[in-house]
Symmetry: D2
């Protein structure tokens, strides 16, 4: 098969440069064009010297990327991708948005949480939101745009799915305490990501007010078949990569010791990228860094009949670039793990 | 007044050396003797070179410490302090145990969670468990032993107290997601505190099974007047000092926006060491490092009628040595903040 | 004695807030006024929540600070302090510049390295550059302005002084490899101090081209009595505080094993803030953090007849705010360590 | 071609598990057997959960590894590999020692620095020390054992080679100030690698007394054709991976601005794994992490006629496992970069 010509809009953002890192090892891909508003005209290796002599492509503009590519990854602030996806669509190109513009099925959610409208409603009919392990059936004839899931929602949806589908959870009980490394905040300079401010520091932020909340609730509601509200509190971890979501749910029934483990093991037994850890093990984000894995450990608190689900991903890979490539593989009917056999290092 | 002759058993542990740091600035204290099993005969500055030329005391044994001191701080693994407290008591000395041997009022809790018995039941009648802001009335005539609270329970009890006393909380709803720096694990070498294993890593541990659980529940039950069970999950943070507890409670009533803030503000208005942050602020452990403060921020999740309480302390100060000194001040009728006016640095 | 009314211009910079932290514990000081261009009208605790309920002063402007204070600390970018010092001088106030405007004795050095002129040459006659351990005699009648030394030069001058005075060093051989924590770069946001860029990263910067070079050479030349050129390479360490300078000098004579140690021990025997470590020990910046100490260890490389001097300070204390307060104590004939008895914590 | 059957002795050490990570992606290798004294009988994923479901091999003993493999990597403390290499040799297997037993050509160096003898002198005739970029010609007929270079010496030899061969260096002037991440100290628990002791800490260690010194001098002497002595001071960096060596040499001649850059560029122009950075750039270890690259930047200090060479590698890859695989490729006449196209991530 000919190689897929792939382009990246927003290539100098953290998700963009991670896409490059992974795509350079993808056997069916040719990196055709990359763009950056801030660094147009420079080579990517001038901005990211780790790529010196490995990728010396020049950063162009968005139109060039759309022109030269069969499939475009876009990693931009919300509100900017709808117009680009339309341009791509008009030229018959596929489009994967790593931002928020194609994630929420209900426009009112988008308006409430992002303060923006959908301008191209028809276009949304060609798009789907897709965590492959849960939604791969959505990527079928007629779908040319994918709303790539957010980092927190990915870790949470994969952590909750088997229990929510089982019907064993009190749907009013879901509390999610997530912790993310600083790359999650991106390349832009802010006081909170200034080294002396976040090193040896730790706190929550946007408590019960983070924009990923409606995306989390959308998937939880679909899985459970009911309207679900959750409490979601993200925290900023003093490390580069990775997310741990510690998820608390109350069961509406009594279960045997390892029943929840077996439920998850069966649910994910064919999924390469979800590793359900054995009873007694605990998920740690260090074990999935630089890889597309999601590690899940299950813990029953018998005293309160709660289950604690610990779900770990690399926010830059399964939470962004890796999952986007997994979605690209789906769009092109390639094995989902093509180019994604990234072994997480021990440290 | 004559200076109090103070001794430290277990002076080379992390809590021990933190006691030395703070006591060196206490105007009413003379450091009379220190001991260490591992380093007997060495000077403390040989073990902790930060103290070079500042404190050159020689480490002795436990008996010497008891002999030379009016008040003894002991920071040892659980099970070792009862016998030492007895010795001290027989000589009319006061005793503050930074470990777990005098924390739990019900012996069955101690047996269940620590697997040990109380050997000197009478002695426990002379002791009390004391977070000064909540229990200072307990330190009265006849009390010569104090069970100094654990680090997690301190952050949690101060975070929960006003709401639990208010009666507005669904007592079955309490979930506590705590995160602690690595000094909490002490000076002993373990794989989990080996630098390459915990740097750029993050995970929970002892999920819903940590020994601080009964201590947390003891205080919560006292405050609410009912038997309370909580779900408590500690996590290990890749930083040296500090604890954040993110506490989730469901209200059993509707409240105005800042009602919970005013409740806390009033509850703690005379407390120097508890800072209730203004609405809109969020507690961060960096702001209390190296100090005896507990910072608390309150966050109402209207969508689910939950309150999220964020409570931050320095695990080594308010969570150990600082609070122990605050308790010493209580025992000697000194102003509680004597020697504890430690300004937290900005970074 | 009445308390000295002290003001801080540039109070929201990192050196400024560190001055506040230390001055709050100084028995002879009243903090009279603070200013900030960026945050005028806010309280300092709004900018630095670590100071909540401890210091709630409102940030004013520079003129207010000069008006209300007997002594002004200024921590501003170079080029801004001469004019302020003049204003202060005209009102009979004392002035300590934590920046570079009063450090270099030769104006041509200032012009070459900073690209600026001295506008008030007369004013410089009332000023001196002062590392107290080396230059305290300079602070005499007629001196009302002090050029507070830079962080790197302080660690290096204290490390080199005894050997340079001894005449045993080949003056062409001096190589200084320094490493500083990120607070050294200040509060301003830059790509190089963005957390994901400097965490798990390390490199030199301004190789053999750092502006502290002429200040280092000025002191080295004074000490040796000859014109000295050095090679100076600073590096950025992924930690908050502290500087290590590893200094290489070739001896022009053969020495006994511990001769250099004895030389240093004698040179600094009356200096509280310089700790010459015993043979076999190695200076580590963690042992001086949050304190005004400079730790020095000496290492003889017999194979090459070089001495390696390792000098560690806290860049924010002995390298900035602490030394500035030490200089203030000199100006007011107070014991030099007044308010500076800061015990470095073990971790 | 058939896959090479490869075994690893000491597979649970840090270099061992890094070998596994890289070899899993090597197209010509079949991982045949792994061993560990401490964890025999366990699977590697029990010890390193990052490998869960990726590599579930059971750890055996050394004899099994030698038996089942064509080529054996051994990563063990010095003194243990000679006997194993002999066993392997007697069975006609190839052997790559990641330790020190086959690095030093002169037995007296080994005796002086390691306190051990060569027991199998004949065996050393079948071995060579090999940094491929400098010594690949040594791997010829009759060579079946390779002494894989140390991490510091690799960064230093590659940094010094062009200048030393050029004859432009005063050979008495070489000073090397190296800084390594904590993985360099290995998996064994020590006080210096206990998280709270090395986080927010920095210091040199084994000042001018590190065992890599004779290995550095051996290569420097070969390159320059004269007996060279260097001053070498390693430091411990608070990060996981990477080495920076800042190397100071005095030139014995005057040179044009970029002459040294051109010298290096030409010297390494055909070397994939050495990237000579453009003038104005500075090597940073973050840009080579997780990859086999060595980045070198050159800086001329005209004021002192010194060159400062900054050389950065990942201590676990180019400094251990990656270079060992590069040497394996040499032994099997494979392209040197086979299996080593590891793109360094941006963060």
């Amino acid at each position: 098969m000919n190689k897929i010509k792939v382009g990246i809009i927003g290539a100098t953002g953290y998700a963009g440069v991670e896409l490059i890192r992974i795509l350079l090892g993808h056997p069916n891909v040719e990196l055709a064009a990359i763009s950056s508003v801030s660094f147009e005209g420079k080579t990517i290796s001038e901005v990211y010297p780790n790529l010196t002599e490995i990728c010396e492509m020049v950063l162009g503009n968005e139109d060039e990327v759309i022109e030269k590519s069969d499939l475009i990854f876009a990693s931009l602030p919300h509100g900017l991708c709808e117009a680009l996806a339309l341009k791509a669509d008009q030229k018959g190109k596929k489009f994967i948005d790593l931002g928020a513009d194609f994630r929420l099925a209900k426009e009112e959610d988008y308006e409430e949480w992002y303060g923006l409208h959908y301008n191209e409603k028809e276009l949304h009919g060609k798009s789907c939101y897709c965590i492959p392990e849960l939604h791969r059936d959505r990527v079928k004839e007629g779908i040319s745009i994918i709303g790539n899931p957010g980092c927190y929602p990915t870790s949470i949806a994969l952590g909750l799915a088997p229990l929510l589908k089982s019907g064993m959870v009190d749907l009013n009980s879901i509390i999610i305490d997530s912790k993310s490394g600083v790359t999650g905040a991106g390349r832009g300079l802010t006081q909170t990501s200034h080294y002396p401010e976040c090193n040896e520091a730790f706190s929550p932020y946007k408590v019960a007010a983070h924009r990923h909340t409606p995306e989390i609730e959308q998937t939880a509601s679909e899985l459970s078949g009911q309207d679900v509200k959750v409490t979601f509190v993200p925290h900023l971890l003093p490390l580069n990569r990775g997310i741990i979501s510690t998820i608390y749910v109350t069961l509406n029934t009594q279960v045997q010791d390892n029943a929840v483990y077996y439920l998850y093991q069966k649910f994910y037994e064919k999924e390469k990228f979800v590793r359900v850890l054995k009873p007694g093990q605990t998920a740690n984000l260090k074990n999935v860094k630089y890889s597309n894995y999601c590690d899940i450990s299950l813990h029953l608190d018998k005293r309160t009949n709660r289950v604690i689900i610990v779900s770990a991903i690399d926010n830059m890979v399964k939470g962004a670039a890796g999952q986007a490539i997994q979605n690209m593989n789906l769009l092109y009917h390639l094995p989902e793990d093509t180019g994604l056999n990234l072994v997480p290092p021990a440290f």
